[in-house]
């Protein structure tokens, strides 16, 4: 057997693939953050809570109304997106134009609020959500057993990431968006409803988080606190990629998944700290992240 640093090649390939899968997942989460920051300059500390809401909504919709996975994949993000728009309209709008830091503090408070209320309603042990039947099982790739569901996660996550990037960076709609958030007055003059555009953008960003939440529901324990831990990891990803850089968030997400995966193989205890180490080092060398523009 070929060995690399004492680890069989087969095991290493498996770990790399797992890293890419987790990375795709991180990319999806950081993408929403990057969209919200890049276009609205809002530091969304409620992103973890929105991810959690997506997963919780999936379970609750199923338990209460029998809504299946495929419908939930659209419905849950939609509901969370609407919730996000309400949050934007009633709360975030009031601090528009203030220092970014206030948006961080405000959304941090919102996250605490939402998590706390749901903890009291649903407890912390986790809600049960069965894997959809068609995803049961997996294929043997020779070097590892790949569950079908993980293959689906990587495919759909990367697809959504690419689609979002394409829409914002390459289409007319994206151009409006970027222009509208950069020079609101001008766009207002052209007859574009900028406040609505802002609401929609925030709603879209949190929809991406909620979508990741739906993807997580069958494989992770669904609890009201599931978002609070992943939040700072995802933030680290966005910062390393360069706040607001959409392509950067996607590439860094996948990259961090792989780095974390390798750490899990060679020195598992450090796997939760490694991202922060990378972040410190990257910011030493590039103050605005890997793909960030100079502020």
């Amino acid at each position: 057997m070929t060995m690399i640093f004492g680890v069989p090649l087969a095991v290493l390939s498996g770990q790399l693939l797992i890293g890419v899968i987790n990375g795709a997942f991180y990319a999806l989460l950081s993408l929403g953050l990057a969209v919200i920051f890049g276009l609205l300059k809002i530091i969304n500390f409620a992103h973890g809570a929105m991810y959690m809401l997506g997963a919780m909504a999936t379970v609750i919709l199923f338990d209460a109304l029998g809504v299946n996975y495929w419908v939930a994949l659209f419905l849950a993000p939609l509901l969370v997106g609407v919730f996000g728009m309400l949050v934007e309209y009633f709360l975030l709008r009031r601090i528009a134009g203030q220092d970014h830091i206030y948006s961080l503090l405000l959304t941090f408070g919102i996250a605490l609020l939402v998590q706390g209320v749901l903890t009291n309603l649903y407890g912390v042990s986790g809600l049960r959500y069965a894997m959809p039947d068609m995803f049961k099982g997996g294929i043997n790739l020779g070097f590892m057993f790949l569950p079908y569901y993980r293959a689906w996660v990587i495919g759909v996550a990367l697809l959504v990431c690419f689609g979002t990037w394409f829409m914002i960076e390459k289409t007319k709609l994206g151009a409006y968006l970027r222009a509208g958030t950069e020079d609101a007055q001008l766009m207002q003059g052209f007859g574009v409803n900028v406040p609505l555009l802002v609401s929609l953008t925030y709603g879209f960003g949190v929809m991406l988080a909620a979508f990741a939440g739906v993807l997580a529901a069958p494989i992770y324990s669904v609890t009201p606190v599931m978002g609070s831990h992943i939040l700072i990891v995802v933030f680290a990803v966005v910062v390393i990629g360069g706040m607001g850089s959409i392509g950067g968030a996607i590439i860094t997400g996948v990259l961090m998944g792989v780095i974390e995966g390798l750490t899990k193989t060679f020195y598992p205890p450090a796997s939760s700290a490694v991202i922060f180490l990378v972040m410190v080092v990257v910011l030493m060398v590039r103050p605005t992240g890997l793909f960030g523009k100079e502020a």
């Binding site: 961080l104 605490l112 998590q115 103050p287």
Partner: protein, 331 residues
């Protein structure tokens, strides 16, 4: 506002205002100190000490956030470092007097603060917050891994010992007056720092960094020094806390603690001297009273609500809003 004014007049009014302000400050401070001196006979001393430790922590944080405009999301690292160092030294070396243990804890936190500062000070705004967060996560990882901290079980049975080898701190009242003395000394120190020329530069940096640079100030050096003082005081707060409670735990190193100190400062009024003290008192009390009462299970969401409300409606915090009110109606 556009009519011409005689500069001498402005100068005199400012002086008079300053004098009145100083007198008011002195009066307020005297009242506060009097209250603090009798407090342990009315209220529970350990609880008061907890408030003082967190107040000191918030005052330290505010020096950086409120006066220099740097949001550190990693101050928990200093609180924990002070606590663990002091706790470890006092538990391991029975000959060590308490104040030396506390001094050592403060010193280590100061050094760590310098390291944080050197690594983060060139970063702006959100990047600064994130680098400090990342560094404090690495510190957290170190404490989880190190056997001497007792991991999630915590470090327990730290002896309070004797002050200067003479005064037993086992007695809650002795301990209280010691903590109070340290707190007042630090508060006065921060007051001095803020009103010194150095403090003026910090404020100038907060208001407009490029202008401060163009005025020829070495902005980075000022920021580093502010950071180090802030870290040292935060470490001191942690050291005191570990002696008061006779324990040190991972909670102090967790990033939630960094969030809590932001809440304290914000609620009390950032950029005011008294604000963080009021904020710490408020938050510690709310948390304590709620966790005992019928709303016991709802502490987190209520704290979240306070966060939201403060940012939306009382951005100047309790002290800031009172100041504004006084100025508008009585000034």
């Amino acid at each position: 506002m556009t009519q011409p004014v005689n500069p001498a007049d402005i100068h005199n009014t400012i002086l008079a205002q300053q004098k009145a302000e100083d007198r008011k400050k002195l009066a307020i401070n005297t009242v506060f100190i009097a209250i603090l001196l009798v407090a342990p006979f009315v209220l529970y001393p350990v609880f008061l000490m907890k408030i003082l430790c967190f107040a000191l922590f918030a005052v330290a944080f505010n020096l950086l956030f409120g006066f220099t405009g740097l949001l550190s999301f990693g101050h928990a690292a200093f609180l924990a470092t002070g606590g663990y160092t002091t706790g470890y030294l006092l538990s391991q070396h029975s000959g060590l007097t308490t104040e030396l243990g506390i001094l050592a804890g403060t010193l280590v936190a100061t050094v760590l603060g310098l390291a944080f500062a050197l690594l983060s000070i060139r970063r702006q705004g959100i990047y600064f917050a994130m680098v400090t967060l990342a560094l404090s996560q690495l510190v957290f990882f170190f404490y989880v891994q190190s056997p001497f901290t007792g991991g999630e079980d915590g470090m327990h049975g730290i002896p309070r010992g004797e002050l200067f080898g003479l005064i037993s701190l086992e007695d809650n009242h002795n301990m209280y007056y010691f903590v109070l003395a340290v707190f007042i000394a630090c508060y006065v120190l921060v007051q001095r720092v803020v009103s010194s020329p150095f403090g003026q530069v910090l404020r100038a940096i907060k208001q407009n960094e490029p202008r401060a640079v163009s005025l020829g100030y070495n902005v980075d050096r000022h920021k580093v020094l502010a950071f180090v003082i802030s870290a040292a005081l935060a470490g001191l707060a942690g050291s005191l806390k570990s002696v008061v409670f006779q324990l040190a735990s991972l909670n102090d190193a967790h990033w939630h603690m960094s969030g809590e100190v932001i809440l304290m400062t914000l609620v009390g009024g950032m950029g005011t001297l008294l604000g963080p003290v009021v904020g710490a008192t408020f938050v510690v009390n709310v948390e304590y009273q709620l966790s005992q009462g019928p709303l016991r299970d709802w502490v987190d969401p209520i704290l979240g609500g306070i966060f939201v409300l403060t940012v939306l409606a009382f951005r100047n915090g309790i002290v800031g809003e009172i100041q504004k009110f006084v100025r508008r109606n009585l000034g």
